[in-house]
């Protein structure tokens, strides 16, 4: 009787998930099924580079197309370009230095650069402690995680790693559902620059932001 009069749950925001999924378990399974099938429709197109919006970096060779940032300074949707002698932009794609390799990795994961035949072995941390492993083309995996693409913005941060490795975190934020997916990617400079290079990734999906109040606390 009381429950019908007083409906406390109406006060809290219940997370919503893509594809009509009723809860996180179903939503995670939908992504796992797509990863298992290994097929996707490409929704994401490389960003259009407006030269007027480019910001020069101090090496006078590289420019950044400023995007948005998510949460922390390093997590950004920026892409990196160089200008040819004809002033036409080219997405940075080399690993001559660790910095350039980082820019290339960021460009690749944000799908400014085509993934080619690069392959990813992906561990999906699903509801219920299940961690299935999928092996599929990197481009297909990125398309599946980005989902419809229209309401999802991807942010990438290249993080510190040993000299022979490259590591990046990609966050996919669904602005409408206020849900995140997080991809934790590791590769090597050689695999990055190989059209058939191997990547490994850890994937967390359907992380709701709707009931989050504070994330940065530290104990006293």
């Amino acid at each position: 009787m009381l429950a019908t009069i007083f409906c406390p749950a109406a006060m809290a925001a219940t997370p919503e998930y893509a594809g009509g999924a009723t809860d996180k378990a179903v939503a995670d399974s939908l992504i796992a099924m797509r990863l298992d099938a290994g097929t996707s429709v490409r929704h994401t197109t490389p960003p259009v580079v407006d030269i007027k919006r480019l910001v020069a970096m101090s090496d006078s060779v590289t420019y950044v197309l400023p995007g948005k940032r998510y949460g922390v300074q390093a997590l950004r949707s920026d892409v990196y370009v160089t200008l040819g002698s004809d002033r036409k932009p080219h997405f940075v794609c080399d690993a001559t230095t660790k910095t350039r390799a980082g820019m290339t990795l960021s460009n690749l994961l944000l799908q400014a650069l085509p993934a080619g035949k690069r392959w990813v072995t992906l561990h999906h941390y699903m509801y219920g402690g299940k961690v299935p492993c999928f092996s599929l083309p990197l481009g297909t995996a990125l398309d599946i995680i980005a989902g419809s693409g229209k309401q999802v913005t991807a942010y990438c941060a290249v993080t510190k790693s040993p000299a022979d490795k490259l590591h990046a975190i990609v966050i996919y934020h669904d602005k409408v559902l206020n849900v995140l997916h997080m991809l934790d990617v590791t590769t090597t400079p050689a695999d990055l620059m190989s059209d058939t290079g191997d990547f490994t990734a850890l994937l967390n999906t359907n992380i709701p932001m709707s009931y989050l109040k504070s994330i940065w606390g530290i104990s006293k």
Binding site: M1, L2, A3, F6, P8, A9, A12, A13, T14, P15, D23, K24, A25, K52, L54, V55, A56, M57, S58, S60, V64, G71, V72, Q73, A74, L75, Y80, L83, G84, S85, D86, R87, T99, G102, M103, Y125, Y127, G128, G129, A157, V158, T159, K160, I169, L180, M182, N204, N206, I207, P208, M209, Y211, L212, K213, S214, I215, W216, G217, I218, S219
Partner: protein, 338 residues
Amino acid sequence: MIRRLCFAVAAVITALTAGAQATFCVNSGISDEALITRIENSVNDLMTSINVCYVKDKDKVQLSKELFSEGARNDVNEMWEGTGHMSVPDGDYAGPVIRLPKVGQHDAYEVRNIPVDFHRGDSIMRHELVLDVGTSGKVFAVKVAVEKHSFMELMANSGEVDDLAQRLRVINFVEQFRTAYIRKDLEFLESVYSDDALIITGRVLQHKVGGGMKDRMNIRGKTVLTRQTKQEYLKNLRGIFKRKDWLKIDFEDLEIVKDLRYDNLYGVTLKQYWQSPGYSDIGWLFLIIDMRDMARPQIYVRTWQPYKDTQNKGYNKEDIITTRDEVFELEDFRIELL
């Protein structure tokens, strides 16, 4: 030399009227004196105009149409609108000119080392402007330079990204935890509660009144805490799962606190809204979660304290049994990880 001196004097006079003194001269990159003069003229006009706009608190930076293309004027004013206010700090600045790849038939140059302060409230962020100029000295683009090695700095500061990633994994686990109750998934709950988990459940103290009829009092602090083992808690939960056709659980105001001593130990506080046929409550849920195994985090502590006494028939929506300050915290428990 005389030309340089005259120009510097003129620039200082102009700047003084604006309340700031900033001058710029080219120190390397090109040797064409006439071009150097034209470039310096444009840069000094830009610095002065920005400071005039800042001092007089104008809405728009007024730039010479002769010295700045429409695109460059738009760049500056978009910057002005985007930052709120900006100014060029006092000083005599010198910077290089770099020849850019040709655009069509025209030579183009890039001028660097022009400082600018972006004012946001009480804070000031120092940046560097980069100007693209033609051979006439006319500026056709004004941009903010990315700080030297900024990409490397972003990488160097990636510790906060790793920290954020782990905290997002905590939220991911909390959502699995919520889902498990709704799905009555005892197997999952058994696996995530540590075998020696400390489980504390609060209830509002009951008072006998009149002929022995139970009543609940909405008095703050009148809460009884009961300690249970994992087995006792799960046995009770199994009974609830059997008796209730459905459960609806929602979370609100999730706060994550990281333990100072152990990198992968987190305290999570949230408001829980529990609804089931014939029963509902609102309470503070506090969990201590060990995230060392990403696939199978472990809960060491679970406490629940009533937020409002929703079971009282005379329940007043405004009455709060347990305030946020009274909710258990990470510091209240001593955890030793092996």
